[in-house]
Symmetry: C2
Subunit: 175 residues, 2 copies
């Protein structure tokens, strides 16, 4: 199974693609979309969308694993983050991918076996899981995205079913 993890943000969006065959994780790609601060918001969203759709077309993952981060966000920053998340989900829908969402604690638990692991601990475990040498440069947001992909692949391979895909939470969407 091939999964793209996406850590959406309006300035920096991380993405990472991981494949799992039997018990073996394989690193395929990781990177960040850094949008131009002088561009309009709409143009920045377009930069994110175009990069994600390009990566999805190239690597053909079946699943998008997306961060669901409510923690420490105020309403205004939630709006901004929601805009980037919406565009990431749209890229998934355009490519026919199913979307699963995981909160940061679940990701840390799945990757580092500790729900309060810091970024460096997560990155170390991502490197270890994917057998990436220290020579491979890995931005924080790309590492977080790979952790999201690993999280889904770990949860999906467990005997217990993964959390229902987002269609189950349709009630949230009613205004």
């Amino acid at each position: 199974m091939r999964v793209i993890g996406v850590d959406p943000g309006t300035s920096v969006t991380g993405f990472g693609i991981v494949e799992k065959n039997s018990q073996h994780f394989r690193f395929l790609e990781a990177g960040v979309v850094r949008t131009q601060p002088r561009s309009s918001k709409a143009d920045r969203l377009l930069q994110i969308f175009e990069r994600l759709t390009g990566v999805i077309e190239q690597f053909q993952p079946a699943i998008m694993s997306l961060e669901r981060s409510f923690v420490g966000e105020n309403v205004q920053s939630a709006f901004r983050l929601g805009e980037a998340r919406g565009v990431a989900m749209l890229a998934a829908a355009c490519g026919g991918l199913d979307v699963f969402e995981y909160d940061p604690t679940s990701v840390k638990l799945a990757v580092a076996s500790y729900g309060r692991a810091d970024k460096q601990q997560v990155k170390m475990m991502v490197r270890r899981t994917l057998t990436l040498s220290d020579a491979v440069d890995l931005a924080d947001d790309a590492s977080d995205a790979l952790a999201l992909a690993i999280c889904h692949l770990g949860v999906a391979s467990m005997p217990i079913a993964p959390p229902a895909r987002n269609r189950a939470s349709a009630a949230e969407w009613r205004r």
Copy 2:
């Protein structure tokens, strides 16, 4: 000048297109995108995106006037609303439209000369401004979208420049 007003929402997104030549407002189109509650969130965003890009392609507006609504929203609903807003902005970027944002009070002031006007008062003034007869059915969200378009056209025609377009608020975007 031709403007599409968009009132984004995950369940219902209103849109309305208005043209202004000299002092004359002309109604072109209005409608709502009602997404399927049983669809996944990503598919619902795709439904919004496809409808908006279709309408933009058909009517070729130069500007998108978008509601910026923070009022009464908690963080979780701001996330959801942000997702729909992001997709609306992306549709604008794909069509080469500039995006302007207006808060609900500014829209009510521009359309009904009263910042606390209710939906029915706004709808009445939208009908009057666009000389729409009562026979024309107008959903609340479509009326709000037309009000956004009228608001931009009113503000843009005043001797004072309209609010700086969204690229001025790049600072908001930094995480």
